[in-house]
Amino acid sequence: MQYNVIVIGSGPGGYVAAIRCAQLGFKTAIVEKYNTLGGTCLNVGCIPSKALLDSSEHFINAKEHFKGHGIDIPEPKLNLGQMIKRKGEVVKANVDGIAFLMKKNKIDVHTGVGSFVDKNTIKVTAADGKETTITTEKVIIATGSKPTPLPFAPFDKKRIISSTEALELKELPKHLIVIGGGVIGMELGSVFARIGSKVTVVEFLDSLIPTMDGTMGKELLKVAKKLGIESHLGHKVTSVENKGEEVIVKAEGKDGKTIELKGDYCLVAIGRRPYTDGLGLDKIGIETVKGQVPVDDHLKTKVDNVYAIGDVVRGAMLAHKAEEEGVYVAETMAGQKPHVHYLLIPGVVYTWPEVASVGYTEEQLKSQGKAYKVGNFPYKALGRARASGDTDGLVKILADKATDEILGVHIIGARAADMIAAGVTAMEFLHRPKMYRECRMRIRRTWKR
């Protein structure tokens, strides 16, 4: 065998798994279809989104908020080209960093589509059609996910676009119609709303970010409204038509009434699907279930030496979840007994204000019939928040009624993403809210209420 471990896919799950394998002494190779490492997260996902989110936040601050702070500047003008260019530089710096990490950890990088020949042999087909075959004792599938298209309106990548294209737009949309009020839709929707597009969100369910705690969705709806985002909840999109310069979206409300929206771009952000195309899973007898690669509790597939991690398996499609699983599998292969505590993987929506949560939502606790209590504290009532002008949002803590054990922390508000770490630690160590002398002020105040 040439390798102890081959990792297919170089996203956050794959590259972290490869590094951990190398650290643990395995001779490791990584196979990546694209020319740059880092997968969705670094190339067309979290990192470029965050780059644009930050840029657009600066823009709206300069445009609307500086004046109130006593900073007078001429009306700022948007330079979308520069914004996209900067985003490109951020991405490049990150993916180059991954390439360096591979070199540093002596991990061989094979560029091309990886597919199984048998359970120990991987064929790598490069873009120019050149094939190489490499052998290994163990394989980690980390092929990630792709945006899901609407069945009746596939991505044409011109007017009907996915998040990938939205990050590369050459012009500012006049009216962006976002289908799907989840994390991706709300993040990108708010980017364009800030820099001057009219944004309309159409969501099938009755709440924005519907997988998170209901209170967060409600608050985000208010915040989105302030930003000028129009939301149509409980609407099922029935058709999307590209009319050349215009897109027409039709959606049916619960009351049976149909609305018609006309915009110049339509961002379809209804979710992502596990990506196993061309992987040749059939060669080793693995069948996907709802697109996912089935794994046991140790992330092992039914083939003894093949593991799978990240978006391609069950669970939340989050970069840091994939990273945890990557480390988990590497250590498991080395005979260690690592842990992944799925409940404590936090989720963040990088709108502004941010939404962050960890643990159970109130809806989950209700359906479990658990006795819980709720503490809420609005940012508005906090001096620090007033000082910075970030008065939107609230902190919500759910705790066990009998023991005070924290069951969930949900924050919408400025720097929620930073503060959620305190919630994760508290839950990991079963802290009571009031044991938190050192905790972030807002969390503690929430409890005191």
Binding site: Q336, K337, P338, H339, H341, A371, K401, A402, T403, D404, E405, E428, F429, L430, H431, K434, M435, R437
Partner: protein, 517 residues
């Protein structure tokens, strides 16, 4: 109404006592004047009697140190009729105590029976202990959840301690007491309206067990990984972290309990045993144990160090030919015993000799008090007696006026009382000079430590036959080395040395004792 029994004022300088032993259990029926506990101060041991008949409710557990005037226990006279009805309250688990709460109604009408134990929280990384600086609430006060009940200080900062439940405060750690992290600060007898504990019986049973938190046995992520790799279930590990959480160290130190584990494993090890390298499992245990210092021990420690630090102490030596005393003793001891009923020992000779010498060198019998030197015209001789509880020093009063037989009788009386732990504080205070006899344990030579505020102490040692030169001839004589430790601030070298020489002369020629020369 229950009668409260408080710590009696036992002596002028005594501010606190330690509960050495509860002779009665919580919930026991006690009679009036019955001895219910043994208390220990830094000077003596006392018995605590019941001031009324009834059912005993212990407030302060064994081993706690309690200031004078604090409530030690309560006796409920009403309970006497139906003793079985009273549940052992402090240890009661919520579920057990709840039904029993009604019969004890007069004492705690709204009590839920649950007791919340409050322990010292982890306040910072490097902080291992805290001191209770102020109790803002008194013992027995009712407190509300989150109400600040005490101020606690560490070596870095002062912080406030909020009550962890609604209820009646029972203070365990008194003010100025230093507790380690996790140490018990107080108990709160939970009363109605206290959210967490009140629901305990119906909710998770973990919450009801008083001394451990709901998080007990919860491993940290690192600990969980280590335990899994060792194959030890978390419930077999005692957590030393906050609230009983299992820390990484706990996990690293955890040993698999092989016996209750799968029998297959046991068979494995058996099979390997003969072939593998010999693993030494039996033999020398390496247990450590720590015991709380008794008040007596603490006082001894404190005072001895103080003497070393605060006096200019040094020791002078001499040797005594014991032949004359021994001769006299063997000659008259039977007669002496017959006449006085006590044996004739060396103590009487030494005491008499010392009293004589003290008269000649009053500085040795003096005490320093601030800027003044207090000279005593009497000799109260403290005699060190070793007891199971530690060293005690009862006093022979006006030893200079006592006869040999009176001294011997007093020595026997004091030693007996000391061994029985019956010495009163009066019997142990006010000596002007001390004698200690390390010789009974075989000591050849030692440097005793002054018993403050005295200025000197004589150390007696064993009597050994040694070759000595008398009148140009080597003869065998029973010799005792004697040592005098003294405070050079009060006593000059000339006086101390002369004093010891005087004692030597008196013992080597006992006739001088009669004549006073």
């Amino acid at each position: 109404m229950a009668v409260q029994i408080k710590v009696p004022a036992v002596g002028e300088s005594i501010t606190e006592v330690t509960i050495a032993n509860w002779l009665k259990k919580d919930g026991d029926v006690v009679k009036m004047d019955e001895v219910i506990a043994e208390l220990e101060s830094d000077k003596a041991t006392f018995e605590l009697t019941a001031s009324s008949a009834g059912v005993l409710k212990i407030v302060k557990p064994q081993g706690t140190t309690v200031p004078i005037g604090e409530v030690l226990c309560e006796i409920d006279p009403n309970g006497a009729a139906a003793p079985g009805a009273t549940a052992p309250a402090p240890e009661a688990k919520a579920a057990a105590a709840a039904p029993a709460a009604k019969p004890v109604a007069p004492a705690a009408p709204k009590s839920t029976g649950a007791v919340k134990e409050m322990k010292v929280p982890t306040v910072g990384e490097s902080i291992t202990e805290v001191t209770i600086s102020t109790w803002l609430k008194k013992d027995g006060d009712s407190v509300k959840l989150d109400e600040i009940i005490a101020e606690v200080e560490s070596d870095k900062a002062t912080f406030e301690l909020p009550a962890e439940a609604n209820g009646i405060l029972r203070i365990v750690a008194k003010e100025k007491e230093t507790l380690p992290i996790g140490g018990l600060i107080c108990r709160i007898e939970v009363t109605d309206g206290a959210a967490p504990a009140a629901q305990a019986p119906t909710e998770a049973p973990a919450a009801a067990t008083g001394d451990k938190s709901y998080a007990a046995g919860h491993p940290s992520p690192a600990a969980a990984k280590i335990l899994d790799e060792k194959g030890i279930p978390a419930n077999q590990v005692a957590g030393s972290g906050v609230g009983g959480r299992i820390t990484r160290d706990d996990a690293q130190n955890a040993q698999a309990q092989s016996k209750p584990q799968a029998p297959a494993k046991a068979a494995d090890t058996k099979a390997q045993a003969p072939s593998g390298p010999p693993v030494i499992t039996s033999g020398g245990g390496r247990n450590k144990r720590s015991e709380k210092m008794s008040s007596l021990r603490k006082t001894i420690a404190k005072r001895l160090v103080a003497v070393k630090n605060e006096t200019a102490m040094l020791t002078t030596f001499n040797e005594v030919d014991m032949k004359p005393v021994m001769d006299m003793r063997s000659k008259y001891k039977d007669q002496f015993k017959e006449k006085y009923g006590v044996g004739l020992g060396f103590m009487s000779f030494f005491t008499k000799a010392v009293c004589q010498a003290l008269k000649d060198f009053p500085a040795v019998n003096a005490a320093l008090n601030g800027d003044e030197i207090i000279y005593h015209d009497y000799c109260d001789i403290s005699i060190a007696v070793s007891t199971p509880r530690g060293l005690v020093v009862p006093v022979i009063r006006n030893a200079e006026s006592l006869s040999f037989n009176q001294i011997e009788a007093e020595v026997v009386r004091l030693a007996t009382r000391g061994r029985d732990g019956k010495l009163s504080i009066e019997e142990m205070t006010g000596g002007t000079f001390s004698i200690t006899n390390g010789g009974v344990f075989g000591s050849m030579l030692s440097t005793p430590i002054i018993n403050p505020p005295q200025s000197a102490i004589l150390g007696m040692h064993n009597i050994v036959e040694r070759a000595v030169v008398k009148n140009g001839e080597v003869v065998v004589r029973p010799i005792m080395y004697v040592a005098l430790s003294y405070d050079h601030r009060v006593i000059d070298g000339r006086e101390s040395v002369s004093f010891l020489v005087r004692v030597k002369e008196l013992l080597e020629d006992p006739g001088r004792l009669i004549l006073g020369v």
